[in-house]
């Protein structure tokens, strides 16, 4: 007996109109609004996972794993600032605003970073006294919105970061929806409570690199040339943006790839604008080298950094330090499986929760609700972050020693190979087992 021949073709899903695309069309039709969410891009992109370290061999000599020194310190802002920052690990905490994050989360970031001798950064909402107090080294952001900007905080900061763009939304402004504009957040931003707050995408008082040069000069004058001045850009045209930031007088440039997290951005923006960090580092380093500024103007990269291997790879490609956002929040307690029931009640699940813009975060991190925020213990969460930063640093050291390097900064592109043709072309390292770097001349 043979099986009956089907009279109809079985249902077939379209690769183009896949489940997600269809659901999005239906959602858009029902609501009339684009999707807004937090976190970074969720699609698969060429990333650090596509690179491998070669390690020592007959021709290279490794360092003894536990005993031989492999330094991790980094000095940021050596070009013009009278007081450069000395950090013990090249892993810094990226700018995330009070407003997007609860006061408790900001304090926890400060505690964790301080315990590990690294810096944390304010965000699009000004500096809170709690974060200044809990952070030994605090970078103060100057953003297009200028919320909370004031010269006293500028002078209290250890460095100033002029934000031109962010990897999650290069060319876009900030967004904080009404439900997160509590009385305190509203007061810090000089805005009414409860309204959707759209922050500008362009700086109000300068346009273009010539103006930026003068703006930097003003900030230096106000702070008496003491503080390092960073310029942060989203990864789009890294060669030119980094060259122009250097030309404008930056001490440090921050390059944020499209994987970079955000507190609230349109999904279409997160997924379709900008380039992956893997593709951005080499052109940025090239710009620094062409200007004879590599290691003189320090490069901090971010966007999807998760483990010590990512850190080591970013440094090997030429960065001086990295910054983490999403991973730091996860270390504090974001997307904890223990909260599964609550994530489900919000229509999500642990590991996927990204509605950071709604202010209903059961972990108490991306919220302004006092009850939810009180769930996060800044001391314990700070400790978790410190643990995580220690692991990132140690993991990077393990790799560096295996490559025979006595400092993380001695890692170099020669230590790397690529697993895919795309990543070989983007990172400008050979495809594993070959000497082929696609696109190299």
């Amino acid at each position: 007996m043979s099986a009956p021949i089907p009279v109809r073709t079985p249902p077939r899903r379209s690769a183009t109109f896949d489940e997600h695309s269809i659901a999005e069309i239906q959602r858009a039709a029902a609501t009339g609004i684009y999707d807004i969410r937090g976190a970074g891009t969720k699609r698969k992109l060429p990333h650090f996972d596509d690179l491998l370290f070669l390690g020592a061999s007959v021709s290279r000599y490794p360092l003894e794993g536990y005993r031989e020194k492999c330094a991790t310190d980094v000095v940021l802002g050596t070009r013009f600032a009278k007081k450069p920052l000395h950090l013990k690990t090249p892993v810094t905490i990226a700018g995330m605003s009070f407003g997007a994050l609860s006061g408790q989360a900001k304090e926890a970031l400060g505690r964790g970073a301080t315990a590990m001798g690294t810096s944390t950064t304010t965000g699009d909402g000004g500096m809170t006294p709690e974060e200044r107090e809990s952070s030994k080294t605090l970078v103060y952001q100057l953003l297009p919105s200028r919320y909370g900007m004031n010269p006293d905080d500028l002078r209290k900061a250890d460095a100033v970061e002029i934000v031109v763009g962010q990897g999650a939304k290069p060319g876009g402004g900030g967004m904080l929806l009404g439900q997160k504009i509590s009385a305190r957040v509203a007061a810090m931003r000089n805005l009414p409570q409860g309204i959707d707050q759209r922050s500008a995408c362009r700086h109000p008082d300068w346009t273009g690199p010539d103006d930026l040069t003068i703006k930097i000069q003003e900030i230096r004058e106000i702070t008496d040339w003491e503080k390092p001045i960073y310029v942060k850009v989203g990864a789009t045209r890294p060669y030119f943006d980094i060259a122009l930031a250097v030309k404008s007088g930056a001490d440090v440039v921050v390059l944020d790839g499209m994987q970079g997290g955000t507190a609230a951005t349109q999904e279409v923006f997160i997924e379709h604008v900008g380039i992956p960090i893997l593709a951005a580092i080499r052109p940025a380093v090239q710009a620094l080298q062409d200007l004879d500024m590599h290691r003189k103007v320090q490069l901090i990269v971010s966007g999807g950094i998760r483990n010590g291997a990512d850190v080591a790879k970013a440094l090997a490609l030429g960065a001086d330090a990295v910054a983490i956002g999403t991973a730091a929040l996860v270390a504090l307690g974001d997307n904890d499986p223990k909260l599964e029931t609550e994530y489900q009640a919000l229509g999500s699940t642990a590991g996927c929760y990204d509605d950071w813009h709604e202010g209903r975060d059961p972990a108490g991190i991306t919220t302004q609700d006092p009850e939810l925020a009180a769930r996060l213990d800044p001391v314990k969460a700070g400790r978790r972050l410190a643990n995580y930063l220690a692991v990132l640093t140690m993991e990077a050291q393990i790799i560096a020693r295996a490559c025979g390097k006595s400092h993380l900064h001695n890692l170099e592109p020669d230590d790397l190979v690529a697993l895919t043709v795309e990543s070989a072309a983007m990172a400008r390292v050979p495809l594993a087992g070959t000497s082929w770097i696609p696109g190299a001349i």
Binding site: T31, G32, I33, S145, R146, M149, N150, P151, D152, L154, G178, R189, N190, L191, P192, I195, D196, R198, A200, P204, D205, W206, D211, I214, K215, Q217, E218, R220, E221, I222, T223, D224, W225
Partner: protein, 227 residues
């Protein structure tokens, strides 16, 4: 009166000297000559002193000013008194673009005209312009007052929040969510007081008032054209 000649002293030295002054300093009266377009002149002041500048400063003159009074006998470059916190800045001539941008307090008086984006993103500052202002003025203006005795360029008050705008002359066009509002006795009294404080002679009753329609405060799909 202490006179500093920028033909002989650098802006850096001048600013440093002014920043070091204690709040209760006796050295309260300063005069700066030969600015010749220098940028960031007297930026970051933080004491109740009075500085008179004879000549034309460049960008960001009196940037982030706190407490000090700065008088400019000349024209100013971009970003005059940007992010001012308190005190008073007065320009006898014209000001370029972004005058008073993001200012959070104090009084800025421009006796001539101001360029584009005057009062952009203002957050509490009071700005009085005796002449006219350019395109995109009071863009995303949050709080504070902008008074223009002359005319205003296009897209005035685009995406405005709670700032109060008063114009005596013509408004080329209003930006998204900015509307003309009724001049109540309360607003008239405020405007009269502000003109007086600024030392600008004008009849408050001849001004019109503009502000936010508050229609874009929370996203709604039917307003999509306005975003």
């Amino acid at each position: 009166m202490i006179t500093v000649d920028l033909a002989e002293t650098s802006v850096r030295d001048l600013n440093q000297r002014l920043h070091k002054l204690p709040k209760d300093t006796n050295e309260r009266a300063w005069r700066v000559v030969n600015p010749k377009g220098a940028h960031a002149l007297v930026a970051g002041l933080d004491a109740p002193i009075e500085v008179t500048i004879d000549g034309h400063p460049g960008y960001y003159c009196a940037g982030m000013n706190k407490e000090a009074t700065v008088i400019v006998n000349g024209h100013c470059g971009v970003g005059l008194a940007e992010n001012m916190m308190s005190g008073e800045v007065r320009v006898k001539g014209n000001a370029s673009d972004a005058a008073g941008a993001t200012g959070r307090g104090g009084l800025l008086v421009v006796e001539g005209d101001a360029g584009l984006r005057c009062g952009i993103s203002m957050k509490g500052i009071d700005i009085v312009v005796a002449g006219s202002v350019g395109h995109m003025s009071a863009f995303m203006a949050q709080t504070g007052s902008l008074v223009v005795c002359g005319d205003v360029g296009s897209s005035f008050g685009d995406s405005i929040y709670e700032a109060r705008l008063y114009v005596q002359g013509k408004v080329e066009s209003l930006g998204a969510d900015c509307i003309e509002k009724k001049m109540t006795p309360h607003h008239l009294a405020k405007l009269e007081k502000l003109l007086k404080r600024a030392g600008i002679e004008a009849d408050a009753r001849r001004f019109r008032r503009y502000g936010s329609a508050r229609r874009l405060y929370n996203f709604h799909v039917d307003n999509v054209d306005a975003y």
